[in-house]
């Protein structure tokens, strides 16, 4: 357990030291949101309609951007080898890394989402569901990304390939997540998509660390 905590602490420290901590993540979302009106015009109604999709795309982008460095830096300086030799199962270590990654991307986005939602003219009754759906759904994005990161770990420029591998798999998350907000904004019940979203996250919690650990191990021998 202490090993897991150490991995999480190390990841968070690293994120802060290289200036990729929580603050930068929030600034990234803010910039992404501010660019939108320039691209589609300052039409409040239109923006309000596509806002849930925008915030979910922002979550997807932010997750993707950090992913190619999630394991690569550790691979380059040999830390991945040590993690494999360690007593703690590689699966758990990778899950801990994913958690740390989520703490600096998915979690801050979920928390500031209502604020961004105000700027994007989302209906007031959809604010809370928006936050909850991001809170429940972004772990799935990070975990799917973990699989992609471990498959492309040895490649010098794996970022583009990683996106090609990861994006099709994240479609269910996107569908259910955006639907929660859409249904809530229209004043309808949204528990079904929310539960399906939780289901996707739980499946990924089981599948992703297993697949990622397998990919890292097989990359060696």
């Amino acid at each position: 357990m202490s090993a897991i905590l150490a991995v999480i602490r190390r990841e968070l420290t690293l994120a802060r030291r290289i200036g990729a901590g929580v603050e930068l993540g929030i600034v990234f979302f803010l910039i992404l949101i501010s660019v939108v009106p320039f691209a589609i015009g300052a039409d409040q109604k239109l923006i309000g309609r596509i806002a849930p999709a925008l915030l979910w795309l922002a979550a997807l982008l932010a997750t993707l951007l950090g992913l190619d460095r999630l394991l690569q830096a550790d691979e380059e300086d040999g830390i991945v080898d040590h993690l494999q030799l360690a007593e703690t199962p590689l699966m758990l270590v990778l899950a801990a890394k994913a958690l740390a990654h989520w703490l600096v991307t998915g979690l801050p986005l979920s928390l500031v989402a209502p604020l961004l939602g105000l700027m994007l003219a989302i209906e007031p009754q959809a604010m809370l569901p928006l936050s909850i759906s991001l809170l429940i759904g972004t772990p799935a994005l990070t975990l799917i990304g973990l699989i992609g990161a471990s498959l492309t770990v040895s490649l010098k420029r794996g970022g583009l390939l990683l996106s090609v591998l990861v994006l099709p798999l994240s479609i269910p998350t996107l569908i259910f997540g955006a639907t929660v907000v859409k249904e809530a904004a229209a004043g309808r019940a949204y528990s079904t998509p929310l539960m399906l979203l939780a289901g996707v996250s739980l499946i990924m919690l089981v599948v992703a660390p297993l697949a990622a650990a397998g990919a890292l191990r097989f990359a060696r021998n």
């Binding site: 490649l155 499946i203 990359a219």
Partner: protein, 256 residues
């Protein structure tokens, strides 16, 4: 002398030479079968089968389109089995088969998408509709492309094979979820009503050519698979020989 048990066919096929021998025996009958099935199927599809009372002559696209859709899923299932063969049984032919199958599967999926689009223009009045089935086939196509891209990115065949095997299995776990979510998303949207093909009862005059075409596609797949596997084995052999030759030259030539 005969103490060791004779290895099973499955094990013997792990030897590229044994595989090649079997492939050479199978290849020509398969090619002849493919040509015959396509000949009979296409003749049935375009000549003898009736036009649909609603769709007219456009229904003939179905004979090209539907078998391609079947094969697009069948090939992926085969790749998932090969992936298990690579990871669990470590069969040396498994990753060769998988590498050979991926572009063929992507090709069938593309045929399915394109012919569907050609059919959609006269029938639905649009080349592309964000329909549940179209969308999930498109995603299947994207997953195929991702797998092919991963093969290309990793230059060592051994390592690449395992990475691709894991990606294929992850995709296989995800495909039902994606399919379900897209279906669910589509029923929420409730778009304009879409013509469905003939309903559950297709006349035998149409069903027979359809199944013959399905058989023809399957045989074509097997032919392409075997030829591509033979090619892949040859490519790997040439690479090995080149390395050996370069090594020999370096030893003889010294520091030259």
């Amino acid at each position: 002398m005969e103490t060791a048990p004779k290895p099973s066919l499955w094990l013997r096929l792990a030897n590229p030479a044994a595989f090649n021998a079997l492939a050479n025996v199978l290849l020509w009958p398969l090619i002849v079968g493919t040509i015959a099935a396509f000949g009979y199927g296409l003749y049935g599809a375009f000549m003898t089968s009736p036009a649909d009372y609603q769709q007219g002559e456009t229904v003939r696209i179905m004979y090209i389109h539907v078998p391609a859709a079947w094969l697009s899923l069948f090939v992926y299932a085969g790749m998932a089995v090969s992936a298990l063969g690579t990871l669990v049984f470590r069969h040396p032919m498994a990753d060769v088969a998988q590498k050979a199958a991926a572009p063929v599967g992507a090709g069938f999926t593309l045929i399915c998408l394109l012919t569907g689009s050609f059919w959609g223009k006269p029938m639905w009045g649009t080349w592309w509709e964000w329909d549940a089935r179209l969308t999930s086939v498109l995603i299947l196509f994207l997953i195929y492309l991702g797998i092919i891209a991963l093969w290309r990115a990793i230059d060592e065949p051994q390592r690449g094979a395992r990475a691709v095997a894991i990606m294929t299995l992850v995709g296989a776990v995800n495909l039902p979820i994606i399919k379900f979510s897209v279906d669910w998303w589509y029923t929420l949207h409730q778009p304009a009503s879409v013509f469905r093909m003939g309903g559950p009862t297709i006349d035998r005059a149409m069903l027979t050519p359809l199944f013959v075409m399905g058989l023809a596609y399957l045989l074509l797949y097997l032919v392409l698979l075997i030829v591509r596997m033979k090619t892949e084995l040859m490519v790997r052999r040439i690479e090995r020989l080149q390395i050996v030759a370069a090594d020999k030259q370096a030893r003889q030539g010294g520091s030259r």
